[in-house]
């Protein structure tokens, strides 16, 4: 039995009718065409489907759409404004922290949340923040470098 929900995604309000078991990930990808949020496992093991809810990274494959109302949701598409890359996005690009790119949206969102809360994280804090994200291409070295670089640039702004 479908129910009405109201979701705030990237600043836009969406009114939708959803089944109770529908996940936020399904809403984003299949209903709203926001395919920047990726699904690699669908069972909360890889971090690819991460979005920010009230600034905190959550796994959208494990979140029911009905539970995500009345809180601002940010996906990768909503991160940069006016086509300009954020410092985190730019650092990922400059440091070679992107290869196939499938884990990138989730990595970028979790890194953004981290730096929002902790502008100068230690390497261990970076690892802790990104421990739920699998990346098979980069070996993570350049991802760590990118987060440090972003922190440095944001501090010098």
């Amino acid at each position: 039995m479908k129910q009405r929900v109201e979701l705030s995604i990237n600043g836009d309000t969406h009114e939708l009718a959803v089944e109770p078991q529908t996940t936020l990930l399904e809403i984003l990808r299949d209903h709203l065409g926001l395919t920047g949020t990726k699904e690699a496992c669908g069972t909360g093991e890889c971090g690819s489907c991460t979005v920010l809810i009230a600034g905190k990274p959550i796994l959208s494959c494990l979140a029911l759409a009905m539970d995500c109302q009345k809180q601002p949701i940010i996906t990768i598409e909503g991160l940069s404004e006016g086509g300009k890359l954020t410092p985190v996005q730019q650092a990922f690009l400059d440091c070679g922290a992107i290869q196939c790119g499938f884990c990138t949206p989730g990595m970028v969102l979790s890194s953004t949340a981290l730096l929002e809360e902790n502008p100068s994280p230690s390497e261990e804090e970076i690892r802790k923040a990104l421990e739920g994200h699998l990346c098979r291409c980069t070996g993570y070295n350049k991802i760590i470098e990118a987060v440090k670089k972003a922190a440095e640039r944001m501090a010098n702004k």
Partner: protein, 813 residues
Amino acid sequence: MDSTLTYIGQRIPRKDGPEKVTGRAIYTVDIQLPGMLMGRILRSPHPHARILNIDISRATNLKGVKAVITAQDTIGKKHSFVETPRYPADQYPLATDRVRFVGEEIAAVAATDPYVAEEALSLIQVDYDPLPAVFDPEEAMQSGAPEIHPSHPKVTKPLMNVAGKTESGWGNVERGFAQSDHIRQDRFESHLRTHGYLEPQATVASFEPGGKLNVWTSSQGPFIKRAKLAGTLGLPFSTVRIQKAYVGGAFGGKIDLFSHEVCASLLSMKTGRPVKIVASREEIFTAYRHGQPLIVEIKTGVKKDGTLVAQRARVINNCGAYRGSGVVVIFLAWGFIMIPYRLPNLAYEGYAVYTNNPIRAPQRGHGAPQVRFAVESQLDMIAEELGIDPVEIRLRNARLPGEQLPNGDNVHNCGLIECIQKAAEHTEFRKKYGMNRSTPRFGGRIRRGIGIGVSSYFSGSLIYPNSSSVVVKMNDDGTVTLLTGALDIGQGAETILCQIVAEELKIPLEEIQVIAADTETTPVDIGSWISGNAYVSGNAARMAATEVRRKLLDIAAGEMEAKVEDLRVEDKSIYVASSPGQRLTYRQLVATSIQKRRGDPIIGEGHWRAMRDEPFHPSLATTKGRWSENYAFDAQVAEVEVDIETGQVRLVRAVTAHDCGFPINPLLVEGQVDGQVSMALGHALMEEVLMKEGRTLNPNWLEYRMPTIHNVALSEYINVITEQYKMDRSYGTKEGGEGSTSAILDVAMSEHVDVRPKHVELGPPYRSKEAGEGLVSAILAAIANAIYDAVEVRLNTTPFTPEKILRGLGKIR
């Protein structure tokens, strides 16, 4: 020194980065078409069974189901990764009368949503008659083992389950062993690992009423896919169009034709609607293709000083229920023994054996990790027995530049010696090796060890489609469009091709548009799976750009009444060297060409083929024939810490000294090194697909542990430059162009001496070598050798689990 290189050799961020970092890059899984149906596949629960009957009637009648297909909907044509007279195709896209592994595809459904499709699968009734099954390759080779392909022509009688055999060698091994001072024989075994690509296997097929089949599929190259898909569907190649979608990782696992690609196509043809099939992660773990565990038995004879005299190697590959790339691995295993060290006598035999396991795929390194683990581990054992240090024994046997390999190939500008020396020097290997055994640095329970390994990999060979062609077009506004069939799977294929074009035409990367990986609009390309992108496609791009430049220079010479050799190319324009004010922009030159040369808009085409004078690839059965003209080399050093209480091993540091010719983009090369070190770390210490009687026991990432951000080794790189980028000064690049070009060049082997006549249009073959899969092997061996150095436990089987370490230490039984 002034650098002549503007784009090549620069740390340029990847061209598709902005798309990927903003979520705008569209992967196959992201494609949505109007009216699209979702497909699901019914798979065998049995490892081996006869199919007695398939009843689809209930599924067909389910509301929302638009089509159900079985083998009867196919044209009954088999396909295979390898299709030769000796190894004919052996797999139907949907099982006909028999299933041979758990997960084999039996039927497929297209429905209005994935949940309906899933429900429909449960309504398909299949009656099976289970048959005896065999899972171990050596058991499968015994007489009396269940025969997996009874109606198949046999490769070797009476061994019914042998899918393929490779026999090769040179010299006289028996005489070689008789001449040896020291002989060792060992057996090494490797385990089952999966590729771990994040984007699931996925295909969208959309059949047009006019007869065109449009396909987007997560793959490693559209041209081999089109050949196999069209062949299996019985369609002319020209009616199947495979288009580009971003690829979320592949690592060898997405090359071959898969049943879901055939099923999505057939379902779309049957319903007239687009059909999408996405595999679940559990399906990928249980029914898709993993790598290839090898048994490597190796007997080696050496002189007292460690010089290799003779080797006898026997390799057995458990290739699963169908050949997959199993018969290629037993060929390649021979090659990976042959390349790095001089070896006067070799006798080699390799067997690919059918078992009732899922099929195997190529996996980054395609046999090299397993083979180098065996050879390099044994070499360390021999070195210790002879009292030689591991670096010395490798230097003594390593190939030198210009040596001819026993198969007739030449290693040209081989930088192996430099790789070994640099890796050892950088890590103070000789000082550290053995030290921790006598006086453990940390005392306590943590022991530190250091180990080295060596490997080599080919850069492109002759397998369909054998060729790369690139088209470079000038646009009215003076910008450039690059058309390539190359598919960027994350390694940066598009970026480096752009860098090559940018360099030849002195135009920024931002002004080069790329159209890629579309069988209809882009020229043929060998694909991102045979380590030939930089070399084969790179040379094609260089030729195409050179043709464009030749035309531009020619027009400029006429317009400015100057000789071509007096012209200089710079910043999208051409000027006269002696009077830089005399200058024409590309935009002006294109307009002039159209006006004065009968409308010529200036287009260049270039093509390249590895082994261009050879008709065919080498024989998989005998290895005869040339294999590659371009080999990359590397030496890798691992430093590990072993906890003698828990048996846990940590890879602390990985140093890669590699000869990739010339790094076109060091940033991307480093990314390849890091990724391979990480993959080897997982291979060595963490990952194993556990199977019992053909069923996967750990089909998810919680139980199959891939490295996370907590499992990262310090990764260091040493570029051994064996190929100066061949600049032709007649092109009008800046003066003083010889020599190395930036601080990243650590070792320049061959001084660049350009004595060619001034008006040469294209330099010698551009031997940038592969960097994408050769560096996953030596590091595995180095980890094994470092563990031995730390705790004197020699492990002959991967992975190096705490249990094996503790058993080796005598702490558990």
